[in-house]
Amino acid sequence: MNTVLSRANSLFAFSLSVMAALTFGCFITTAFKDRSIPVDIHVSKVMIKNVDDFTGPRERSDLGFVTFDISANLQPIFDWNVKELFLYLTAEYSTKSNALNQVVLWDKIVLRGDNTKLNLKDVKSKYYFFDDGNGLRANKNITLTLSWNVVPNAGILPLVMGSGHKSMAFPETYETSKSY
């Protein structure tokens, strides 16, 4: 241990070991935490149209329009090992042609340090709510849930669903006017 290089080498190796231990500590102390919180979802406006799916396969499909409110307090989820929460609002339903459909209507990234109180009103969906076919009309049971992907500093990437969901139904007839 008498050259600068060998001392630097030992120091570097030691730092790496310490960082590895800290990283593992971050992971193991939060690996089994329950990251679910209650969520409140309300739906204020619902409409349905039947148009050519211009986002992809050009078939005539049902296009749903939903305006919703979300409120939740995300503060309890954040701890020393949560870097980011990827929130997404899912509409889940089943139709004659598909047993299970899930469509993400809206998403948001919340970083550590951002405002954690979510209180959104009259939000329009971010992504087009196209069905694979015509299964939305008169569909009585569409379930809206808010979920999040917890992105840690190091460790597991769990998907957690918030407790509290909202059931909604689409009308029997298509909207023909240009309004929304």
Partner: protein, 152 residues
């Protein structure tokens, strides 16, 4: 986000090192290591981060599932999008392809460690770094041998 994949053929658990583009920021950056599982019986659901390969292209992509339509017999078609992209991945798929299927999936991201892959990226971007690494190690080895030789 394009990644450099190390997924052993037979095993269920693989890993990926070094993303190249920031389409999944701020969650993952260049140089992060993702742990994948590839259990075929795991259902594909929205919100999951999947690693998939487009037919005819070698490099796999790591993005999030945005939409799924699953039939009763288990046949599923789904759409993906990178967190940091403003549009979904249909522009990346093959000409005329609108959906991905189970067969396109290479794995699912379950865990993550930051910064580990940075060494591989540095070695690829700056070949001089590779040479420097090797020669430094050589010096160390030489010194160590010399010390032990003098003790004999």
């Amino acid at each position: 986000m394009y990644v450099f994949v190390h997924v052993p053929r037979q095993s269920r658990l693989g890993y990926i090192a070094t993303q190249e583009i920031g389409s999944m920021e701020p969650a993952f950056h260049r140089g992060d290591l993702l742990f994948l599982t590839n259990r075929v019986e795991d259902p594909i659901r929205v919100g999951e981060i999947v690693v998939f390969r487009i037919e005819g292209r070698e490099i796999p992509i790591v993005h999030r599932v945005l939409k799924i339509h699953e039939k009763e017999n288990g046949d599923i078609k789904f759409l993906t999008k990178g967190d940091n992209n403003s549009v979904d991945d249909r522009g990346l798929y093959k000409q005329g392809q609108h959906w991905l299927e189970k067969k396109d999936v290479v794995g699912r991201a379950r865990g993550f460690v930051p910064y580990i892959g940075i060494v591989t990226i540095l070695m690829n971007d700056y070949p001089k770094f590779k040479v420097c690494n090797v020669s430094c190690l050589n010096d160390e080895l030489f010194n160590a041998v010399r010390e032990h030789a003098s003790l004999l």
